[in-house]
């Protein structure tokens, strides 16, 4: 049997026309009205900002318009590098110059709320300039348009809201896909998929494709393999399967779950190994050894794009961990959510503040932030605790307030 290249159904069945696009009728009307005004040169704003939850049809609306009217779609999405330079290079010319064949264009900058202030430096002013100079309609999309950094963009755009899709709208699309793929699928199953997706059509289509993998008929039992989109419950079971497996092969079974989030699994295992294997230093050390190798395989895979390493990583984190020597006898353990995620979320803003102060100080001391943190901050802490006057002279001479100095030394 020849293997077909796997096209994501979310792409394969992207609507080609406005009538194929389900839901959000008000948003569609508003968008078309704006486009019409633009074409007549009567629009107040030269850009539109479509915002709403994931999978509600923002990007698809723009694709549908482009393909229905035969316009050239110039697209910059989140996976592209979106610095000022990149926007100018990739989009600015296209937006300000006419096309060779007189073809109309539409410019799409996807997920503007994902623009990173640091990595995509100068992106927002570049987009504003693009909007000012463009000859063609510019469309931005976002999940969260109320992010303060997007304020200038909001002001320059016609803002159009998308709502979550309704369950029947999701089901309608799913059953249409089943029909075109020749798949038999009970309505109760489509209903379960739609429930699970919670209004996110992209998620629902992905789940459907996962279930239909290599099948012509989807049964109720297949639903079990679907990673519940309320993720947590199933992660407990996966961790239990790995850590209580009597044979390595039993642990290996979890790698066949289609929606396995292996990076999350790594964190969950790391959190819970010391609980399940408590009492055997050998077992804990062996398990972490396997986990650390799984971790490095994933890192190499991502850095060097060597996808063949994925199986080794998955095997190491499951069968590898389960093959630890001297495992203590089975006992029931209540597993814990990876605490570090909680801690990282809690300390995020204080770490950012530290970074801000530290990079300023590091620059004036001609050292790196890392050297500052390990070679200088510990001494500053001792000075602060023992000679407040000296500390004060130091932070003043560095141009810091007392508060900033305390952030720096973690007081």
């Amino acid at each position: 049997m020849r293997l077909m290249p796997l096209i994501p159904w979310t792409e394969k069945y992207r609507p080609k026309s406005l009538s194929e696009l389900v839901g959000n009728e008000d948003a569609k009307k508003k968008f078309i009205a704006w486009l019409n005004a633009f074409l007549k040169g009567k629009a107040h704003k030269k850009a539109a900002l479509l915002y709403g939850p994931p999978g509600s049809g923002k990007t698809s609306l723009v694709h549908a318009v482009a393909s229905q009217f035969g316009w050239e779609l110039i697209e910059l999405n989140a996976s592209d590098f979106r610095s000022r330079e990149a926007i100018e290079r990739r989009v600015y010319g296209a937006a300000t110059m006419g096309s060779l064949y007189g073809k109309r264009k539409i410019i799409l900058i996807d997920e503007v709320d994902g623009i990173n202030a640091r990595e995509d430096a100068g992106a927002i002013p570049a987009i504003l300039k693009l909007i000012e100079k463009t000859r063609y309609p510019v469309v931005l999309t976002a999940n969260d348009p109320w992010d303060p950094k997007l304020k200038p963009l909001r002001d320059a755009c016609e803002v159009i809201e998308f709502k979550k899709l309704k369950k029947r709208e999701v089901m309608k699309v799913l059953s249409e896909i089943c029909r075109r793929e020749g798949i038999e699928c009970d309505r109760s199953i489509l209903s379960a998929i739609a429930d699970n997706a919670k209004g996110d059509l992209r998620a629902a289509i992905n789940d459907l494709q996962t279930l239909a993998m290599g099948k012509k008929r989807i049964n109720l039992a297949d639903l079990n393999i679907l990673g519940s989109r309320a993720e947590q419950a199933s992660m407990f079971d996966i961790v239990r399967t790995v850590l209580t497996a009597r044979k390595p092969e039993q642990a290996l079974a979890v790698t066949r779950l289609p929606s396995l989030d292996y990076e999350m699994l790594l964190l969950w295992l790391s959190e819970n190994i010391p609980y399940q294997y408590a009492g055997s230093y050998r077992a804990i050390a062996d398990a972490y050894e396997a986990l650390s190798w799984a971790d490095i395989m994933l890192a190499r895979m991502k850095r060097k794009q060597i996808w063949q390493l994925l199986p080794y990583a998955l095997e190491l984190m499951t069968a590898g961990v389960a093959s630890a020597r001297d495992k203590p006898p089975y006992r029931f353990v209540r597993y814990s959510f990876p605490q570090r995620l909680r801690m990282l979320a809690r300390t995020k803003s204080s770490r950012e503040k530290f970074r801000e102060v530290a990079s300023m100080v590091a620059r004036s001391l001609h050292i790196s932030v890392s050297t500052l943190r390990t070679e200088v901050v510990p001494f500053l802490r001792v000075i602060y605790e023992n000679d407040p006057d000296m500390a004060k002279r130091i932070y003043r001479s560095l141009g810091l307030s007392k508060k900033e100095f305390e952030i720096l030394i973690g007081a």
Binding site: I284, S292, L344, R351, S397
Partner: protein
């Protein structure tokens, strides 16, 4: 702006003020006199005056306007080679001000760049060689790829000799009205070896405790400098309390904000100290160094900080439980 942090306050501003490294300084002065120089590579251990020499050279070349003609970058802080290239490109676009026909790029901690990034850097160096000269600074010359080495005049900075460090410390103490005896100076030397930055930092933190610094003051300061958590983390690991050790590790990483590499550096120092809980427990130093070095390598390769450090902690717990039981068997 003068800084009240002594390492910065007493950093020599001109080549004339640098008292050690005479060989190097005299050659750098020749560059100033002829207003021409090749790319330079300064290699040597921390605190031996590499950055100071680079800044002093910039100062002597351009006078008070040296900042306009010098781009200072730290490879560890810039986000990748693309950012570095972009900054160099923007900076090299304008011509140098004044009589010197080139501008300076000082790239510190260059040996923290991957070899791929160094290849890209090499091309950047060639691209702007008409208008800029690079000073690359590194701890380890062997970590700089050969094509870059071959394009640079290499200067090896040696650890400062004991008498030079002690004399400098004595002089700074005098300027600051701090009394310090020879035994205390010896103790600072023991702890810092030829690392001037560390020596001066120890002196200043000791002086913060007492204006009359003796050997006990030095040890008191040093005792307070190391985050207690590193030592406590190791003690817990040695005792076999893996969860307790993990709590300390998380305090270091998520409260203190240390990176995995920062923790590794502290662990490394702790392991080498003869008073470390690890050494007291009779664990072979070689095993510990392999553990730490291996984790360091993996983290640099992109692995997860916490998982790699937990692998070390659990291995230490295992090794020390084995050491204990074999010790008991021998009795």
């Amino acid at each position: 702006m003068s800084t009240e942090l002594w390492v910065e306050k007493y950093r020599p501003k001109t080549l004339d003020e640098i008292i050690d490294q005479e060989e190097i300084v005299s050659r750098l002065k020749e560059f100033v006199r002829t207003k021409s120089m090749p790319h330079l590579l300064f290699a040597g251990p921390p605190g031996t005056g590499k950055t100071t020499a680079a800044l002093a050279l910039a100062h002597d070349l351009y006078g008070e306007n040296w900042r306009e003609n010098t781009l200072e970058l730290n490879a560890s802080d810039e986000r990748g080679i693309d950012v570095i290239r972009k900054r160099i490109k923007e900076y090299a676009r304008t011509i140098p001000l004044g009589e010197v026909p080139f501008k300076l790029v000082i790239l510190d901690e260059a040996d923290n760049m991957t070899s791929d990034a160094q290849q890209a850097l090499r091309r950047t160096m060639e691209l702007y060689s008409r208008t800029t000269r690079f000073i690359l600074i590194a701890n380890y010359m062997s970590k700089i790829i050969e094509p870059i080495q071959s394009r640079c005049a290499i200067f090896r900075f040696q650890p400062l000799p004991k008498e030079a460090v002690k004399a400098r410390l004595r002089w700074i103490a005098e300027q600051e009205g701090v009394e310090i005896d020879d035994e205390a100076l010896e103790a600072i030397w023991e702890e810092s070896q030829g690392d001037m930055r560390r020596a001066i930092n120890i002196l200043q933190s000791a002086a913060a405790i007492r204006k009359k610094v003796d050997v006990d003051t030095v040890y008191e300061a040093l005792g307070k400098v190391r985050p207690r958590e590193v030592k406590e983390m190791l003690e817990l690991a040695v005792k076999g309390d893996i969860l307790g050790a993990r709590e300390k590790l998380r305090a270091l990483m998520y409260s203190y904000g240390l990176s995995g590499i920062d923790v590794i550096k502290l662990l490394h120092r702790e392991v080498l100290s003869s008073r470390s809980p690890l050494r007291l427990n009779g664990l072979p130093l070689a095993d510990l160094l392999v553990l730490i070095g291996d984790a360091n390598y993996k983290i640099v390769e992109g692995a997860d900080d916490e998982i790699q450090l937990m692998a070390i902690i659990s291995k230490i717990a295992l090794l020390s439980s084995e050491a204990k039981s074999s010790g008991a068997a021998r009795k």
